[in-house]
């Protein structure tokens, strides 16, 4: 009996492991920054180079940081979702314009709409490194105390917004500042 059941058992275990492996996304690397203070930066604004923007400006608010670039193809896919989110909710979406050119970035937003309360201009990508950015677009949710609570790697879709991001934002808005 065992001689037939054992290979079958091993086969089933293998199938289970392999099918779990198929569903995992190797690009999804858990960020060590979750529940840690958002890395500080002081960067010029994309539209007003003389003014600077820093995560500290948004203390006391729940906000999103969206890392984007005009050269990033999947950013185009997620852009309508961000526009929709900017229209339908009060939550500030801060853009981190990553390793981009000022002119092309501004033009990109003119063409596609600008969902960002403000975009920080990270030309050399240093702020991106501090935030552990490795695959643009990336979206972070930051709580009122300035801690990163969630990270979404890759383009945000409607499902991610309604299932994950907005419920979390509403939850975080109940927390004391």
């Amino acid at each position: 009996m065992w001689r037939y059941l054992a290979p079958l058992g091993i086969f089933i275990v293998l199938v289970v492991f392999l099918s779990i492996g198929l569903k995992l996304d190797p690009r999804e690397v858990p960020s060590p920054l979750i529940n840690k203070p958002a890395p500080a930066f002081t960067l010029p604004k994309l539209h007003q180079p003389q003014q600077s923007v820093s995560p500290a400006d948004f203390k006391g608010k729940v906000w999103l940081l969206n890392v984007w670039a005009s050269w990033c193809v999947s950013c185009r896919a997620e852009h309508p979702v961000l526009n929709q989110m900017a229209r339908s909710s009060q939550i500030p979406i801060i853009g981190l314009n990553y390793k981009d050119g000022r002119d092309v970035a501004q033009q990109w937003l003119r063409q596609r709409g600008d969902p960002y309360s403000v975009s920080a201009f990270d030309e050399d990508g240093r702020a991106g490194i501090d935030w552990g950015v490795y695959g643009v677009p990336e979206t972070f949710v930051i709580d009122k105390r300035g801690n990163i609570r969630y990270k979404h790697t890759g383009p945000v879709d409607q499902k991610a917004v309604s299932d994950k991001i907005m419920p979390l934002v509403r939850e975080l808005e109940k927390e004391p500042a």
């Binding site: 690397v29 960020s31 390793k99 490194i129 552990g132 695959g135």
Partner: protein
């Protein structure tokens, strides 16, 4: 001619594996430190390459970061900590031993031991199966058969 082509191919290999940019170091130890670190750190964009092998833009930026930290006298540990704080243990080709990575480290040995156990059980079973005990009537029948054979041989 063939040898020449091979030689050229191998000469090309050397440059293909090295990082693209040229960095100048004051001391040989710093250069060694640089080469050691970029070989040990994983590029997060092309995940099966280290920083030294990858041409991804992030890998270039991280090489630059490593270079600058070395110029400022950072130790290996400081640079590794810098990377891990941003990208997690995934950035290390040799992750530290922790509860989350324990299976990664011990797993292969568990499987190896399991393999030995299965092998031993298999061998033992075979040995037992080899020694078949016969009862009295079976012995008698065996003798009969052997005698019969002897008789037919002698005829």
């Amino acid at each position: 001619m063939k040898k020449l082509i091979l030689l050229l191919l191998f000469a090309g290999l050397g440059t293909a594996f090295a990082g693209v940019e040229v960095h100048k170091f004051e001391q040989a130890e710093q250069e060694q430190q640089y080469n050691r670190l970029i070989a040990e750190l994983r590029c997060l964009v092309c995940q099966n390459q280290n920083l030294a092998d990858s041409n991804a833009e992030l890998a270039q930026d991280l090489r630059q970061e490593v270079y600058e930290m070395i110029q400022n006298g950072a130790s290996d540990q400081e640079i590794v900590n810098f990377m891990v704080a941003r990208y997690g243990d995934f950035v290390l080709y040799r992750p530290p031993f922790k509860t989350t990575t324990a299976f990664l480290w011990i797993g292969p040995f568990i499987i190896l031991i399991a393999g030995f156990v299965i092998l031993l059980v298999f061998i033992r079973k075979r040995k037992q199966a080899g020694a078949v005990e016969l009862d009295e009537s079976e012995h008698a029948r065996a003798r009969e058969l052997l005698n019969e054979k002897n008789e037919t041989d002698s005829q």
